[in-house]
């Protein structure tokens, strides 16, 4: 996987290598938590982490589970085990989306070129499903000046083009 980075001083945009991603749906997060090795947060937007494995709550019964790619078989096994016991849906979406890391002192301005949400208020370690331009994305705040933007694969070039324009605009300083 090629990692493409564009840096325009105020903001850096990097495409991240693939990771294991599952969309988990269940009405019984407590029961699912034990098998996953992390406590599924129940507040929409909250994210829990255990080691490199994270769970971002995207809806009342919806979580995005993310882990390093090597954990894919283990997660598949865990979920198929869970599905046998619990009313639950686990669907692999590792290849559905692409994640761009956005960072730099002007990262909030960069995101404000396309996202209508007030992201200054998004706490580090939390996330949200929102829009960038006309496209649905999942944003997580990894640090004060670093966000991950996850978007469906075929929309990624469009968003990347917009972000590159915006980054150049920020660098131009007007």
């Amino acid at each position: 996987m090629t990692v493409m980075t564009a840096s325009f001083a105020a903001a850096t945009i990097t495409e991240l290598p693939p990771s294991a991603r599952f969309s988990l749906r269940t009405t019984d997060p407590i029961a699912a938590s034990a098998s996953l090795g992390l406590e599924l947060p129940t507040k929409v937007g909250a994210r829990a982490a255990a080691g490199a494995r994270t769970a971002l709550c995207l809806g009342p019964d919806e979580w995005l589970i993310e882990a390093p790619e090597a954990e894919t078989p283990a997660l598949i096994a865990t979920f198929s085990n869970l599905e046998a016991r619990l009313p639950l849906s686990a669907v692999e979406v590792s290849d559905r989306e692409i994640t761009l890391a956005l960072s730099g002192p002007a990262v909030l301005d960069l995101l404000a070129t396309g996202c209508p949400r007030d992201l200054a208020k998004l706490a580090v370690g939390s996330g949200c499903r929102t829009l960038f331009d006309t496209v649905q994305v999942v944003l997580t705040r990894e640090a004060e000046d670093r966000f991950h933007l996850t978007v469906w694969r075929s929309f990624a070039p469009h968003l990347r083009a917009l972000l590159d324009i915006a980054a150049r605009e920020l660098a131009a300083g007007l």
Binding site: E83, P87, V91, V93, A120, W152, S154, L174
Partner: protein, 999 residues
Amino acid sequence: MTSYRLANRGRVDHRKPVRFTFDGKRYQGLAGDTLASALLANGVHLMGRSFKYHRPRGVVSAGSDEPNALMGTSRGLGRFEPNTRATIQELRDGLEATSQNRWPSLAFDVGSINDRMGSLFSAGFYYKTFMWPRAFWDRVYEPVIRNAAGLGISPTEPDADRYASRFAHTDVLVIGAGPAGLAAALAASRSGASVMLVDETAEPGGSLLSEPSVTIEGKLAWDWLSATLAELAALPNVTIMTRTTAIGYYHQNLVGLAQRLTDHLATPPADAPRERMWKVRAGQVVLAQGALEKPLAFDGNDRPGVMLAGAAQTYLHRYGVKVGDRPAIVTTHDSAWFAAFDLAEAGAKPAVIVDIRASVDPVLTVRARSVGIEVLLGHSVTGTSGRLRVKSLRVSRLEKGGAGTARKIACDSVLMCGGWTPSLHLFSHTKGSLTWDIELKAFLPGKKTEAVHIAGAGRGLWGIAAVLDDGANAGTEAARAAGRNVTAQSYAVTVDRTGSGVTVKELPTDRDPAAAKAFIDFQNDVTAKDIRLAVREGMRSIEHVKRYTTNGMATDQGKMSNINGLMIAADALGKQPPQVGLTTFRPPYTPTTFGTFAGYHQDATFEATRKTPIDPWAQAHGAAFEPVALWRRAWYFPKAGEDMHAAVARECRAARSSVGIFDASTLGKIEVVGPDAVTFMERMYTNPWAKLGVGRCRYGLLLGEDGFIRDDGVIGRLAQDRFHVTTTTGGAARVLNMMEDYLQTEWPDLKVWLTSTTEQWAVIALQGPNARKLIEPFVEGLDISEAAFPHMSAATCTVAGFRARLFRVSFTGELGFEINVPARHGRALWEKLWQAGQSYGITPYGTETMHVLRAEKGYIIVGQDTDGTLTPDDAGLNWAIGKAKPDFVGKRSLSRPDMVARGRKQLVGLLTDDPKVVLQEGAQIVADPNEPKPMTMLGHVTSSYWSEALGRSIAMAVVADGRARDGETLHIPMPDRTITARVVKSTVFYDPEGTRLSA
């Protein structure tokens, strides 16, 4: 330095000359000038020709309400802008400006013949004169009128500039950085609230920039302004944006701001956008937009040199420009007296102050006479003279009921003031109510619908002290409403030139009022007598008067003309102004470029173009593409010398005789998972699912509640509680939304979840008699023999080392497989199959061949063969309905009388009598081609192709009672001929027994 530029005055930089041209002539201005102030400094008042009468016009205002000084400005190819307001455009080195609406030149214009024929062009003239013959309107009248009237010329080349957009969030947004806005921003920001302060001009300060003698808190206005801006700039919670116009105020305090970024720069930085649209969500909004000065309506009030008194004051103080040596002042408000005093102090010799009022504050008259200005109280102005520049003023004493004997006063400019109109535009956008203030004769903001505070002259206050205190109050209230704590400050102000005035209709004249050209709307050339004519002809509401006369309908949206027009209409109707009404203001507040609205949606980023992982291969192999929803899909793969027809015929032959490879990745995919998955499927789709075995597939048909076909696709059962649903490419999002809608609102009890997996999988279809032979060596962990993996099987396995979902399905009628692999591996798998397939002459095919192959088999395309009005029976798909099922979406509607009535259009096949003729899709079908028009149309052709396999054309069509017409000959009238075709009730043209599916 010209004689009109005053050294040591203004906020322009006298050490920085700026060169520009106007109509090709070179001029020099100063840094800080607007195009208008620079022209005035050069003694140029004539800046344009009017819209309808082509009358010579000069600049009237010093702001965004300018109706006359509209020019073309350019900085090269693709960067020409018509109708630039010279009062807003800042001077930049090398600026090229051209006047508009004149030929051959600004000083001599042929079109001004319209002016002398003015009596022919009164209000409603177009409606009355150009009615007949009707056909003349499109071909003759309208083009001629459009040529004669109108403003600047639209550029035809693509816009070479880039535009930007940005979202912002703030506790308090203050609109207008005059004294009220500054005081509001100070108060709110001191509370710690986040504050955005925006102003449409290049510099904050508003009226303070034109009022330097006032002192605030012991400081001269401009010193106080610097100190205030420094304080605001030092606060981290404050953002000040100049050159930023609040153009629209939308629901829930969303305000659109158009920011001009580069138009003032001689050399803009690379990558900088020209303008930016801000979409600001504000907790609280403070409107401090101020007031707009009204002109007075008198004959000849539009000659170059006639302008607003406040504008002259602005040109003097802000730009250091004297608009004339011998101005005459005509007013109904005290404010113009101060403009006269300031001009006198700057060295001009005001000829006269004509005040319509019979008496004014004696302080004013005493001061005027002390500086040698003649004062005429209780006088009217009844005319002006001068062709390209005003030369004299005609004044008459007001006597009971009219104007007395006239007298001529020489002058080189006329400064008029008819009072001030609070600027209500943005407040109006919120649908806030307005109340009529009898005292002020003005509309003021009434009931609010948003979290908004209105401060200063915008709510009828006058004087610097009053608006500062009011602004501070508004800022305090806004901060408190935003949950902050702060106390309002009161400002100590001296030399505050307060005053008052009256609002009048057109000025009385001793001459024939019908001959007077007393302009109300300068931009649309509407005069006072036009308004009266409209009333005489029966217009009663201001909305009708507006449309009949076009008063206030120009791009300035009546900023100068609305209230004057209303006063005259009310007078003519004998009613109070609020009974006649005020027209609605709509966004944008000032003309805004299309580019600013488009933002980043330009060229490559106009909209998202979705591409599959295999798209780069198709591109490299010369595919022609077609858009399908937001996707671009390979349409066909022409070889050298092939046209579309030849390429498609070759691709069809390959798929039928050996093997074709097709990128089906765009198919919508939804994973339906959970213990209640099968229950959900039973309810959503018409087909039965309960008995579908794991590892089996079935064609699924989806209806709307109305019983009409919405979508279809092959659905595989991967486990007892897991379905892999496919949808049409264009229907993917719609189907998922519909499913979620039912799940969340109708069946929240079902334990089943939906996940879009469209983009998780790349899908490669291999179709043709050699498909199995090709794929077999790649498949691990699965026996794909005919016996073990028959048509309509599904399984997970490994293909070429990639985890895969393999489907034995066919949309071609041939033996076929669809291989789903994780999207990132799609292209690698494609290349492997491509390599291995060379020995079979593997042929990539596109959507066109896919359409032909499926049509030969009579498979429908939802949205092409159906149009949202076809039931399963209409489409011949009754077999897809689970007859024993108690319910499914749309079931009830299928038994409604009209849904089972005779005469419905049914999908049938059409075979042209001449097998070489391919019908046109969309063509209408009739029974009797000799029937007089309008003919009875039985239906239309939905799909039509050349079938390479059959060696003839085939078509599908929806025809009234189509199946009962089996064998009947119908007619398809075309512009050049009528085609005959035979109806076949089955749409399966090729291999009707389906033997090829199981080869």
